[in-house]
Symmetry: C2
Subunit: 201 residues, 2 copies
Amino acid sequence: MGRRGEHSKDQLAAMALDAAVELLETEGADKLTTRAVAARIGYTVGSLYFLFRNRDDLVLQVNERTLEELEADLHAALGCCADPEEALLAMGRGYIAYARAHPARWRLVFEFQPGDEDAVPTSLLARIDALFALVAARLVELVGDEGDAGLLRRTAQTLWSGVHGIAVLSVSGKVNAGGEVAPEALMEDLVRCYLRGLRKG
Amino acid sequence: MGRRGEHSKDQLAAMALDAAVELLETEGADKLTTRAVAARIGYTVGSLYFLFRNRDDLVLQVNERTLEELEADLHAALGCCADPEEALLAMGRGYIAYARAHPARWRLVFEFQPGDEDAVPTSLLARIDALFALVAARLVELVGDEGDAGLLRRTAQTLWSGVHGIAVLSVSGKVNAGGEVAPEALMEDLVRCYLRGLRKG
């Protein structure tokens, strides 16, 4: 193998990332290695070295693509409603729907711990931050906390960490311990009740 | 090796589970295998077969012990305060503290997915349920929803899933994406605001 030259660098990068996502979804995170990705597209692992330094780097790139897609889904969900509370609920449903549709990809974003040397890169943290910003934008409309951006971000972080908890227990099959309520319904309880508390704070 | 006869079955079970927890905490979940546990206590893997059918079974037993300890910690935390809101906050702090003190063990409880054949056993689900029950008992005191046990359990599940989300993002180092607020402070925001919303529902 080793088809260097057949594809441009950009083509190769796109092919490799597509193959990595497919591997993760069909075979699971354990099987996601640079070697397996290379084999899937008919290249040697050495010829992909310029794309992925090591497995951590591969996983981080896959995770960035996942967050990119998730963010696009949430943007689309937000489009449903002018009312900020309804928009946040739609976003919560979109978040849970994405997690359930792509459990392996979604879990890898939040469960993956790079080795000590490779901290979570700032580009990935920026994507998580962008999700909180989507929430914060609706909270401003609801509670008018424009004066204090720090407090607003903290409020968004609190609320969305809560929604995340419901999604994570749902995807790992543990939310139904002690009840048969759909995660979407728990999310709606959480968001509505939290926002009510916020308005009456 | 194979020191069969030196220890009673109960002694061996206790030794093996202690060794498994130690392995998990020092070497990580990847290294937690029946073979490694056996080696650590000087037995052959075959002589532990009556304790752990396979790796899934080993992990599930380790997870049950983790939940048992977590529950004991939360019980102790609850003892702090007669006021139900303060007791729930103490429980939230205890939950986050346990997760941060034993990240490998805590994550394995929630991240582990047994193979298709071995569903999550009812004894483990019962332990998760017991955590929700601790929360529900304080909610009764707060909102007096004694008439509807189903609704109460659902409310406890919603609130604690939210706290779980904060803990999970904190342990995976992702809660600080977009802010430097301590997870305990986010938990306090969530619990106080949710309870305020609940009382004013």
